[in-house]
């Protein structure tokens, strides 16, 4: 096919098929759905982080105008199971009950305690205020380290501990042995603040019962209609075959809609009890409390190296904030990062331990990157510190340790086999685009003249594992489900094509990309392909969309299914053309007999011949439709180099990003424009963690940053023009050669920005600024450094000489 590159759909920046209806307002968001007799559900939430519910009386709400029903936790929870956690990471993990609505005790500010159902949403909101609840306040649990103390107050008193699990991984040589022969050992503590995902569309669910048949249709703003169907059946007891789940237009997720939420179960339970359709839609401030959060970790990292800058070993101790309950994949998020701390570097020993900790805060779970941004941040930050310690340029230190392009496939220290990559090519391209040497020269000049506004340069050379996931690996990680994806292709009698996919797009552009893939394999026009998704009745099989899996698993399934269609069509063509299958060529959707070009049949003609079935080969099933399920052999490993230049105003502490260059290698690209969009959005979200966003709680466990006025999501006005480019080293683990791109930008960018800030301030004695690097924090760090008299270490930093390191390990 290489001689047809210019005619291929794959590789073209096709404008997205999805966009016309999005930009003209013809969307079906879940909250737009109206059905006859619809009732509106509103949820009363706990105003405190931890309390016993002494008494709850919903009857005053029933007297409010327009109210149809009201329920306390006890009224509803009895008929409902616990919300699911599909990832019990260890055999002895502590798994508390998680009723969809609190019964006896509330464990975070925002925990649901009562439900009001009314004829309109205004009446429902007003009536919530009439519900009477008596709380007996219990001590909040907020500090991850204090929570593990013997006498700490407990989030789940029946469990006797706040320790959810301890998950260890040790690979290569014994870490203490390796540490012993190191010339340099550095230890650092990094804190991953809590983040709030902020999908543009709030969560919403509409449940419509069909009373006569006992069926329920659930529309939900979800990333996972297929998983949700199975889990709702388990939680509510409605049989799976009586549940239809539809994810209509979904406006972003970033992991926050990779969840089975209490509200979805409650809406189904209420619709079932009342026999009426019900809708629940969150407000933004309600979402801040009750949609799961991301990150929330303390990372103690130790790196051991030789004086020449060769890495010997890495030791990571994590404390991960689970929040109050374990949701769908809460415990597994840090484990997704466990394999990524060694990143692109070769070393002899790796030692990792993660301790999951319960707190009285909103549960955490997947947020764009899920475990991998945290890992990348820690390794890329400490690599910069090590470079300083060794007096090396940070890029040079990375060069001395990364896996060479000739070494692939390479089994890295944590046990993953990276199939392909070229770190040298991506880095060299990025350095050239960035003007690295010129910026370093300018930086030196400005430092020498003692300018108020300093220049800093940040490097992040990352890889990540995505394209979730080989089912057997998931089994070994104790994840409850598989990682396959399904596609089927229906050749319609008129020659048009329907691609049915198990992925569930919520902004990514699957309809466009799957059309491009199918169009190439089948040789049909792009516009003749329609993509069906997001409805368990129309697309019954799927594992949905998360973990940058859709293209590399789901897109590969589309590719394989289309190949199967061609193979079936070939049999029909050979029969009609009275030729042997081996003598047929297939190009641009046309079968022709080698040597006699006038003997041809298009795939559209064959679709019609198959429909009529008047003249098919003997014994052939009358269809060329095909289905294919892909279970990937391996993860996909995008990589790249991101470079960030910041100017830091040392008087005010303000950071301004001056330039940002990314060179990503996401393998072969289906649609470059969509890839660029993913990279832009991803970088923006990573910068947001570095500079702006933080879920702040007070000492009582109340969310202080409870609105968008306090939780600062940057807009285009706050971000520079990114220079994005790519190298292209095809993945060998899927037929497209593609690697996931949905999370790469977020994973790469956070450390690039913070490294740049610290680089700018290092001559002034600063070696650490906690995220988000707000102007006040930068100013505080500068002040602390000034009063320390330019000592090189911050309060959490310690560099040891070889001697003291050896003493410590002896």
């Amino acid at each position: 096919m290489s001689d047809q590159v210019t005619e291929r759909e794959v590789g073209r920046s096709r404008p997205r098929k999805e966009d016309a209806h999005l930009v003209t307002g013809q969307t079906t968001w879940t909250d737009n759905i109206d059905v006859h007799g619809l009732l509106h559900l509103a949820i009363l939430r706990s105003p405190m982080a931890h309390a016993r519910i002494r008494r709850i009386d919903v009857s005053p709400a029933l007297e409010q105008p327009g109210v149809v029903a009201a329920f306390g936790g006890r009224d509803l929870a009895a008929g409902l199971g616990s919300l699911p956690c599909a990832w019990p990471v260890t055999e002895d993990m502590v798994l508390p009950d998680h009723p969809p609505i609190a019964v006896d005790e509330v464990r975070y500010a925002g925990d649901p305690v009562a439900v009001v159902v009314a004829r309109d949403r205004y009446a429902a909101a007003d009536a919530l205020e009439a519900v009477e609840v008596d709380y007996e306040q219990l001590p909040p649990v907020l500090d991850l380290e204090a929570a593990l103390a013997e006498d700490a107050p407990l989030v789940h008193s029946d469990k006797g501990t706040n320790r959810c699990y301890v998950w260890p991984l040790a690979t290569g040589e014994e870490y203490p042995t390796v540490r012993h022969r190191a010339d340099v050992v550095l230890r650092r503590r990094y804190v991953q603040q809590r983040l709030i995902p902020n999908a543009m569309e709030p969560r919403s669910v509409v449940v419509t019962p069909l009373a006569a048949s006992g069926e329920y249709t659930v529309h939900s703003a979800t990333q996972i209609p297929h998983i949700l169907r199975i889990m709702l059946a388990t939680v509510t007891g409605v049989p799976e075959h009586k549940l239809r789940v539809i994810a209509p237009d979904v406006g972003g997720g970033f992991g926050s809609k990779l969840q089975v939420y209490g509200e979805e179960a409650l809406a189904l339970a209420v619709a079932r009890r009342l026999g009426r359709p019900v809708k629940w839609t969150e407000s933004r401030s309600e979402g801040y409390l009750a949609t799961h959060h991301g990150r929330g970790m303390i990372q103690d990292v130790e790196i051991a190296a030789t004086r020449e800058g060769r890495l010997l070993g890495l030791k990571v101790d994590l404390l991960a904030d689970m929040g109050a309950y374990l949701m769908l994949v809460t415990p597994g998020i840090p484990i997704l990062g466990a394999f990524m701390y060694p990143a692109i570097y070769k070393m002899d020993a790796y030692d990792f331990t993660c301790t999951g900790v319960f707190t009285t805060r909103t549960p955490t779970d997947a947020y764009r990157g899920a475990g991998r941004p945290e890992a990348t941040y820690a390794i890329e930050r400490i690599m910069d510190e090590l470079a300083v310690e060794l007096g090396l340029d940070p890029v040079e230190l990375r060069r001395r340790n990364w896996i060479g392009h000739e070494e692939f496939p390479y089994t890295a220290i944590a046990g993953l086999t990276y199939d392909s990559g070229n770190y040298e090519a991506a880095t060299d391209k990025a350095l050239a685009l960035f003007g690295y040497d010129e910026l370093r020269a300018e930086q030196r000049k400005r430092n020498e003249s003692g300018e108020t506004v300093r220049l800093g340069i940040g490097v992040s050379t990352y890889t990540e594992m995505c394209g979730l996931a080989p089912s057997r690996v998931l089994r070994d990680l104790r994840y409850a489900a598989g990682g396959w994806e399904a596609a089927s292709i229906r050749m319609l009698p008129t020659g048009k094509v329907e691609v049915v996919t198990g992925t569930s797009p919520h902004g990514q552009g699957h309809v466009t990309c799957w059309s491009q893939i199918a169009s190439d394999v089948l040789g049909v026009p792009f516009d003749d392909v329609e993509v069906v998704h997001g409805d368990t009745k129309a697309a019954p099989q799927g594992m949905d969309t998360y973990g940058s899996r859709s293209l590399v698993v789901g897109g590969a399934a589309v590719h394989r299914a289309a190949e199967k269609v061609v193979e079936k069509a070939r049999k029909v063509a050979a029969h009609l053309l009275e030729a042997s299958e081996d003598d047929l060529e297939f190009t641009h959707g046309v079968f022709s007999v080698k040597g006699s070009p006038e003997a041809r049949r298009s795939i559209q003609e064959i679709a019609f011949e198959t429909f009529s079935s008047h003249d098919l080969p003997d014994g052939m099933e009358p269809t060329i439709n095909a289905e294919h399920l892909v279970d990937p052999d391996n993860f996909s490993y995008p990589h790249g180099t991101h470079l960030c230049a910041v100017e830091v105003d040392t008087e005010t502490g303000r950071t301004t990003i001056r330039s940002y260059v990314s060179v990503d290698d996401v393998g072969r690209v289906v649609n470059p424009m969509i890839v660029e969009g993913q990279v832009h959005g991803g970088i923006a979200q990573g910068i947001a963690q570095a500079l702006y966003e933080e879920a702040v709680y007070d000492d009582e466990g109340n969310l202080v940053s409870g609105t968008m006025a306090d939780y600062l999501v940057p807009s285009a006005a706050d971000l520079p023009a990114f220079v994005t480019d790519r190298t292209e080293t095809p993945a060998t683990s899927n037929p497209l050669g593609a690697k996931g791109v949905g999370e790469a930008g977020t994973i790469a960018s956070t450390p690039a920005v913070v490294n740049a800030i610290v680089d700018a301030l290092r001559p002034l004695g600063v070696s650490e600024v906690a995220m988000p690097c707000t102007p006040q924090r930068v100013w505080d760090a500068l002040r602390a450094a000034r009063s320390d008299g330019h000592s090189s270490g911050g309060p959490t930093a310690s560099a040891e000489s070889a001697e003291s390191a050896k003493e410590a390990s002896a």
Binding site: D126, S285, D710, A717, Q776
Partner: protein
């Protein structure tokens, strides 16, 4: 995000609005552009029984000149203020500061009068109006009265307006040849100022003859940096401005929030005052 129930009325004249407010008493609230009141309603932080929408009273809109005074109707939108050539000529500081308010969508709805009557010390315009020594004109059942800006801002979200009074216009003495600059420090483009400094400077023969400094978000009301103003008088060089700016936070009591401690705000006020004055004086 659903407000509590309230009565709603939309008078078509100032007299009608004032009568309606008098009848509504303490439980009535004026709705101007809605950029501050509606969020308060939606978060259920305000519970008025009556909302009086003054958005359809033509006499409250518009900008005119009156013998050396710029008169701006209370319901003139930020967008119209920014665009108006008379505002730029006579009160450039107001145009410059208004251009930094939130984002274009807010500036098309939000109004000068609404912003001043809301009296959020983190809002940009109260400090600017204070620096401009403007006069605010209110109409109540007893007639019209003029309130100097210095007396208008009483406490956090509190003004000298009585519950039955409506702010109708703002009168700004023209200062065509004064240098000006609004230095706003915010964390993201659409956020409120962490601290803002509005500087007006009259130069005479190479020295600062007179300076007016308004401070945004340095206390429960907008403030004038009086010590700095005094110290700036007669300044001829950058060093003098620098020294004067060191007093900019004197007497202030800034608040604390996750973006900034009081100490940091005081520091910002000093740095931003220096920058604002140097820019306004053309010395930067």
């Amino acid at each position: 995000m659903i407000p509590p129930a309230f009565e709603y009325t939309r008078p078509t004249s100032v007299d009608e609005a004032v009568r309606t407010l008098a009848d509504g008493g303490e439980d009535a609230k004026v709705l101007a552009g809605g950029q501050s009141l509606l969020p308060l309603l939606r978060l259920r932080l305000a519970f008025p029984e009556l909302v009086v929408d003054v958005g359809r009273i033509p006499e409250l809109r518009g900008i005119r000149e009156d013998e050396g005074t710029l008169v701006i109707g209370a319901m003139t939108t930020h967008h119209d203020v920014v665009r108006d050539p008379r505002v730029r000529r006579h009160a450039g500081l107001l145009a410059a500061a208004t251009a930094t308010v939130a984002d274009p969508a807010v500036r098309h709805r939000g109004t000068l009068g609404g912003s001043l009557a809301h009296a959020d010390p983190a809002g940009d315009l109260p400090a600017v109006i204070l620096a401009l020594d403007a006069t605010l004109v209110a109409v109540g059942p007893g007639g019209r009265r003029s309130i100097p800006a210095r007396e208008f801002f009483v406490d956090y979200l509190q003004t000298a307006l009585r519950p039955d009074e409506l702010l109708v216009q703002v009168e700004i003495p023209a200062r065509d040849d004064w240098g000006f600059h609004y230095e706003k420090f915010q964390r993201v483009a659409q956020a409120w100022a962490v601290v803002g400094v509005a500087a007006l400077v009259r130069r005479d023969d190479g020295r600062i003859a007179e300076a007016r400094i308004g401070l945004t978000n340095m206390g429960s009301t907008p403030l004038r940096a009086e010590a700095a103003e005094e110290a700036l008088t007669g300044a001829t060089a950058v060093g003098a401005v620098r020294r004067a700016a060191e007093t900019a936070a004197d007497g202030t009591r800034p608040s604390s929030d996750p973006s900034a401690s009081p100490e940091y705000r005081a520091h910002l006020a000093r740095v931003l005052t220096r920058r604002a004055v140097l820019a306004a004086a053309g010395m930067g």
